[in-house]
């Protein structure tokens, strides 16, 4: 059993319950134990436009909490993972910045040391668990399901900060999808943004961006769009109908979390994977899926 502090971030634990639920369902099946810790806050990334010093300090505070447990930290949300990776990159190479941040953390009786390793959602499956181990658990391969992957910008860029997959040709999600029997295919818009970050001030434009990408995916005849980021998923799934309106199209793209598909392939029930929480037409999956 490998143990990790589970960092939930804001969007997943307050709204995107399907991701939370499916992770908690499947990881123990692969001998990964998640430890819930009280006291986490926002990762800081959404406030980068407001005050970067605040962002870095929030990220450092969360890492410090995990460090106190003496465990490495599992950060499934790509945006949170980026915020903390960037924070680590700055503080681990700049003693002065580290001290500055730690003066603030002292108020909360916390210290950032830099000793905890951050594990992203891709690394959790691809590296920590590994494809071999995953393959052994697959009982219901998702034969003939043609799927498009969406990594989300923050999971693959900027590579300088150290991201879990290649910035220009990420393939880990495809490898995981192939392992569980699905048929992932690349498409021209694979690396494009979902638009979610514009929600703060230009929600209409954010939806247009979402709509444009979904429209392409529909056009290419994919059975589903697979994502891992709660921000992207909210755009593609919950807001799909509205996104369709911005591009004058009625969109019908099933959108699922990678974790939900993994769960299906190892025989976990749809209910335990929160599939009823997806608002996009995921029932279409069942025909192709099993």
């Amino acid at each position: 059993m490998k143990k990790f502090v589970f960092y939930p971030g804001c969007v997943m634990q307050t709204e995107q319950y399907a991701l939370d639920l499916s992770l908690r369902e499947i990881l123990p099946k692969f001998d990964v134990e998640l430890v819930d810790v009280q006291g986490f806050s926002c990762c800081g990334e959404p406030l980068k436009s407001v005050n970067q010093m605040l962002s870095v300090s929030l990220a450092a505070r969360n890492i410090a909490l995990a460090e106190r447990e003496g465990l490495d930290m599992f950060v499934p949300c790509p945006m949170c993972h980026l915020a903390m990776s960037e924070c680590k990159r700055i503080l681990d190479s700049d003693e002065e910045m580290k001290q500055r941040v730690n003066t603030f953390l002292k108020d909360d009786a916390l210290t950032y040391t830099g000793k905890a390793t951050l594990v992203s959602i891709l690394d959790m499956f691809h590296e920590v668990i590994g494809l071999e181990k995953m393959k052994k658990k697959v009982t219901q391969p998702l034969d003939s399901l043609k799927v498009a992957s969406h990594y989300g910008c923050h999971l693959i860029r900027p590579s300088e900060i150290g991201r879990p997959d290649d910035a220009e040709n990420p393939q880990k999600m495809e490898q995981i999808l192939s392992t569980i029997g699905a048929k992932p295919e690349d498409y021209p818009e694979k690396l494009d943004c979902c638009g979610a970050l514009l929600n703060a001030n230009l929600p209409e434009t954010a939806l247009t961006k979402t709509g444009q990408k979904l429209q392409k995916i529909e056009e290419y005849g994919f059975n589903a769009l697979v994502d891992v980021c709660p921000w992207c998923h909210r755009q593609f799934d919950a807001r799909q109908k509205k996104a369709g309106e911005t591009v004058a199209a009625k969109l019908n793209v099933p959108v699922v979390y990678l974790t939900q598909l993994i769960g299906l392939s190892i025989g976990i029930s749809e209910e335990r994977l929160g599939l009823n929480l997806n608002l996009s037409p995921v029932e279409a999956l069942q025909n192709g899926g099993n």
Binding site: T14, Y17, S49, D192, G195, L279
Partner: protein, 175 residues
Amino acid sequence: MSIIDLTSMGEPQTDMKDEINKRLLTLKDEFSEYCYQCGKCTSGCEAHKLLELEPHKIIALLKRGLIDELVNSDIIWTCMSCFKCRERCPQKIAPVEVLFALKNMVVASGKQIPGNYSMYLQMVLSKGLLQDEKEISTRDNKTLKRADLGLPEISKPVDMAKFMGMLSKLAMEKV
């Protein structure tokens, strides 16, 4: 300074330019003076097609010290943070990070911030998280809470007073 912008009669703000360059250095980002204006950032900018953001022009104006023109424009708030400009810049410059710096300057100067950013800040200050725990709908229109799904309590700052104290201090800080 003996350079005058005759187009908009704007004055260059060299000290603000220096401040931005210092910020970039602290955050381990590349010095923007190396930009040679190839336009690769704008060619691939996710926000350009929809909102006319031109990252290369942001850098050109920064190099010229025309910071006022930048901080007074809504265009800096159109970035989607897709990081393509930073990822692909042949000179390792990060227009996206320059935009964060500029937006930070707007906030620090007390100018009005567009959209929900103030709300995000208020939420994080008061609750520690971007938003409260939500009730959600299922595909068959049932309403569910987190607990209904058997999920544990959300994780948030335990001692809110302490947390707020720390954040209020931080909110006044600059990089």
